[in-house]
Amino acid sequence: MSPFARYTIGIAVPFLSVIPTVPLLGRLDITVLGAPLALIWLFCCIPLTSLCLAICWFGHDSKLPDEHIDADYDRGSAP
């Protein structure tokens, strides 16, 4: 998976799914099972976001070698 596709799927798709909900769907007078459409769509964005991140993980990041770095915590504190 290219870096462009990774960022598009992992960041752009979730943001473009959630942000326009406010000005667009929020103004429609449509209800599903008595709940506003905007609310139902937002709930659908929950598994969608997880799916997007799963695609990034299985399509790219799981194939990279894992990072294991030993930390020196005494160096991290103020002298």
């Binding site: 960022y7 992992g10 960041i11 979730p14 943001f15 959630v18 942000i19 909900t21 406010v22 000005p23 929020g26 103004r27 709940a35 506003p36 905007a38 609310l39 937002l42 709930f43 964005c45 929950i46 598994p47 976001t49 997880s50 997007c52 991140l53 799963a54 990034c56 993980w57 990041d61 799981s62 894992d66 990072e67 294991h68 770095i69 030993d70 930390a71 020196d72 915590y73 005494d74 160096r75 991290g76 504190s77 103020a78 002298p79």
Partner: protein, 470 residues
């Protein structure tokens, strides 16, 4: 109800003691970040345990009840998108933590920029905004304990809760928090699921109608839209610089452990549709509540048998206590490690415990004198905390940013956000924290081009081989 509640609290203490197994003599780094040994499962439970506080189980239904679904958009939106942002940024913050031997977020700033002044400014700014968050948890605990109907003063009960949180911390620090978080998360999901299902079963014919004020709050306005959009953007981006977020990122064993947990974290949010059902049930059926924050306990008490209500309340109480221990374990080292220099490893741990005890007392006193809506405190917290974001992005991605410009950015961002909020300056509904963040970014970007600093290797460009030599 009381027996079920106390049984869960006793079980949480057993788990806290169990978490100490094999870690009897803890060094400061083990006490605060578990020496970076948590696998994906423990990291997941700690992360969601710290994310969904009492503001979720009480504040969210309370917000829907008080303000309608306009509130839902930004509350859900920012948490959901924070997981997407975190998938990309958190592994880099984890790498920075390992490379710089960090236990706290300001450790990263001091080591990367080699600036003690920047460390003190970041620490001070973070501490100021963390104070109301502890108060928020105690306000939630007051609501939960009120539901139990014990014949004791609210102040005495919150002091007991504070003592319990302190006990978890004394037992084994972040390890106790993680183990109790497992119990809390299972209980919380079960509590919300049961309450929502029973609410659906008792739905029947709605005998109440939403008030005109509630319907008015549901009507979209440009001001409301701007607030939602700017809040979602600033808080989802700023989520990764919340001190507790950094602390739990540092507990992870590897970068992959962080990423794998981030993939599944949004699914935990499926409890929000259930909480919305509970809020709508309360809205459409007559119910006696003192404040909007009491909606969830009120529905549980109305519909569930007393022992089950006790379990639900225990889940809500643990959600406040786990987050409280997370905040305390973030604050302790901020003082003993970042504000007070030169303390030994053992002194850092002991001084942190003193700071934590003082913080708990301060939060209890704050909760006893305030009754702000839980979500308002949530917003106030993010106004200030998100101002560390430009600095964090500089650590991860930028080469020539001066520490002085980051200091100026944080101070200006905080000043803008708090001035707008406190004076009620009209900005068309835009989130004050978002405006502060814009000013903050502008200062750092202008300074970067007018007077670039010395070249530093950003963490995103550090390879595994280099990390061993830094």
């Amino acid at each position: 109800m009381t027996v079920a509640f106390l049984a869960i609290i006793a079980l949480s203490l057993v788990l806290a003691v169990f978490s100490k197994r094999g870690h009897v003599h803890q060094k400061a780094e083990d006490f605060f970040v578990a020496s970076g040994q948590f696998n994906t499962v423990l990291f997941f439970f700690l992360a969601v345990g710290e994310t969904y506080s009492v503001a979720t189980i009480l504040g969210y239904p309370g917000g829907v009840y008080a303000s309608g679904t306009g509130f839902v958009t930004w509350f859900l939106g920012y948490i959901l998108l924070a997981f997407a942002v975190g998938y990309f940024l958190n592994p880099l913050i984890w790498r920075a933590g390992r490379v710089y031997g960090a236990v706290t977020m300001p450790d990263l700033f001091r080591r990367h920029f080699d600036s003690r002044a920047l460390e003190v400014v970041v620490t001070s700014a973070v501490l100021v905004f963390l104070v109301p968050l502890g108060m928020q948890q105690f306000l939630g605990l007051q609501v939960v304990l009120k539901t139990l109907g014990w014949p004791m003063s609210p102040l005495f009960l919150t002091c007991l809760a504070g003592a319990l949180a302190f006990t978890y911390i004394l037992i084994s620090g972040i390890r106790a928090s993680a183990y109790v978080a497992v119990l809390k998360d299972i209980l919380l999901i079960a509590a919300i699921l049961v309450t929502a299902i029973v609410a659906l079963q008792h739905w029947g014919v709605a005998t109440n109608a939403p008030s005109a004020a509630w319907k008015h709050a549901m009507t979209p306005t440009l001001k409301g839209d701007l607030f939602s959009i700017t809040t979602v953007i600033s808080q989802s981006l700023g989520f990764c610089v919340v001190p507790q977020t950094c602390a739990y990122i540092f507990t992870a064993r590897s970068a992959s452990a962080v990423r794998r947990a981030q993939v599944t974290m949004p699914l935990y949010m499926l409890m929000f549709p259930l909480l919305t059902i509970v809020a709508y049930f309360a809205l459409l059926h007559p119910m006696q509540v003192g404040s909007a924050n009491e909606i969830f306990p009120a529905v549980a008490r109305e519909l569930l048998p007393a022992p089950v209500t006790g379990l639900v309340m225990a889940g809500a109480a643990l959600s406040a206590l786990v987050v409280l221990t997370g905040i305390c374990l973030a604050i302790g080292p901020l003082v003993s490690r970042n504000l007070v220099p030169g303390l030994s490893n053992d002194q850092q741990r002991r001084w942190s415990q003193v700071v934590i005890a003082f913080y708990l007392l301060l939060s209890i006193a704050g909760a006893a004198t305030s009754s702000q809506l839980l979500v308002t405190i949530n917003n106030l917290f993010y106004f200030g905390i998100t101002q560390s974001l430009p600095g964090m992005l500089s650590i991860l991605f930028a080469r020539r940013v001066r520490p002085s410009s980051i200091i100026a950015g944080i101070l200006a961002g905080d000043l803008v956000a708090i001035t707008i909020f406190e004076l009620g300056i009209p900005v068309g509904g835009i989130n004050p924290g978002f405006l502060g963040l814009l000013v903050n970014f502008a200062i750092i970007l202008i300074a970067r081009y007018v007077s670039p600093g010395e070249t530093r290797v950003p963490v995103s460009a550090i390879t595994r081989r280099q990390s061993a030599t830094i």
